[in-house]
């Protein structure tokens, strides 16, 4: 298993700023997207990702290639930062789910797309954390089941169970969109 990030991580660990910048450019968009989907808040997602990268810089000099792909490890760090934040705001999901925008037809197609996106995002945010994480990793980030299971620290069977339940709930909540 060849990790394309090994060299960059090693160089960043030695204080090479260009390597750190390249590492950030490669992974930041994906990690920010995951955090945004998990936390349903841009500000919190940025904070979580910033914390995760601080951990990367701190551990880069001790990084041992071969144990896991750097990206898998980074996903796991970001997920854990998201869980920490979700744990600190009980019932936040319910509050945010209540903000599902009205599905009334919009005159402007752009507005309609934005509303659709918000509605899907709200339905996703209302899922239990583990189901949400599984759905985001497999269906949004297009991770394989094995990688996603490794990121979440669970078995592939458990991941498939989370996925099935998450998809079922999402589909029920967004049934009116499918019909539309």
């Amino acid at each position: 298993m060849i990790d394309p990030d090994t060299d960059l991580v090693a160089r960043a660990g030695q204080g090479d700023r260009a390597a750190a910048q390249a590492l950030m450019a490669r992974h930041l968009p994906k990690m920010l997207t995951v955090a945004r989907r998990m936390l349903h808040s841009q500000t919190e997602a940025e904070d979580a990702v910033q914390d995760a990268f601080l951990k990367v810089w701190t551990h880069a000099s001790r990084w041992q290639p071969g144990k896991a792909l750097f990206e898998t490890w980074l996903y796991r760090v970001v997920m854990n930062k998201c869980y920490d934040r979700l744990r600190k705001r009980p019932n936040a999901n319910l509050d945010e789910a209540a903000e599902v925008p009205d599905a009334a037809p919009q005159a402007d197609a752009v507005m309609a797309n934005a509303a659709l996106g918000r509605e899907i995002e709200a339905a996703l945010a209302a899922l239990p954390d583990r189901q949400k994480a599984a759905i985001v990793l497999c269906h949004h980030q297009e991770c394989g089941n094995i990688e996603a299971a490794e990121i979440l620290g669970i078995s592939v069977e458990a991941l498939e169970s989370l996925l099935a339940r998450g998809r079922r709930t999402l589909r029920a909540r967004l049934a009116h969109l499918k019909d539309a």
Binding site: M24, R36, Q50, L54, G117, I120, R171
Partner: protein, 114 residues
């Protein structure tokens, strides 16, 4: 029947639905903050062994905080050490006396009773 294809159908539906989500913008400020945190970590690492120990004990704290904490705990330790051992030592002596008394052979002076 169609039921056999339901899970795959669900998966395709979920993937398609999540594609409708808007892309998440990466702000320049966030990138700058992340790189700034890299600079801080590198600067600390280069600051030397003392800074590394400080970071292990109290990450991100100014130097005076761990020094004050260590000095304060030292004072408490010395104060406690000057008071507590007296009682401890006495307890040890009592135990010692008792064990000597038990170990000692019984001594009777028969002539004293007559």
């Amino acid at each position: 029947m169609g039921n056999g294809n339901l899970p795959n159908d669900d998966a395709a539906w979920a993937t398609g639905m999540l594609k409708a989500l808007p892309t998440v913008p990466v702000s320049a400020a966030l990138q700058q903050n992340i790189l700034a945190s890299f600079d801080v970590v590198v600067a600390r690492r280069r600051a030397g062994v003392f800074a590394r120990i400080r970071d292990a004990v109290w990450p991100g704290a100014p130097v005076w905080r761990p020094i004050t904490a260590v000095a304060f705990s030292l004072v408490i330790g010395v104060l406690a050490g000057t008071v507590v051992p007296l009682e401890g030592a006495m307890a040890d002596n009592n135990e010692q006396t008792a064990s000597i008394a038990l170990d000692a052979p019984p001594a009777f002076d028969l002539n004293e009773n007559s």
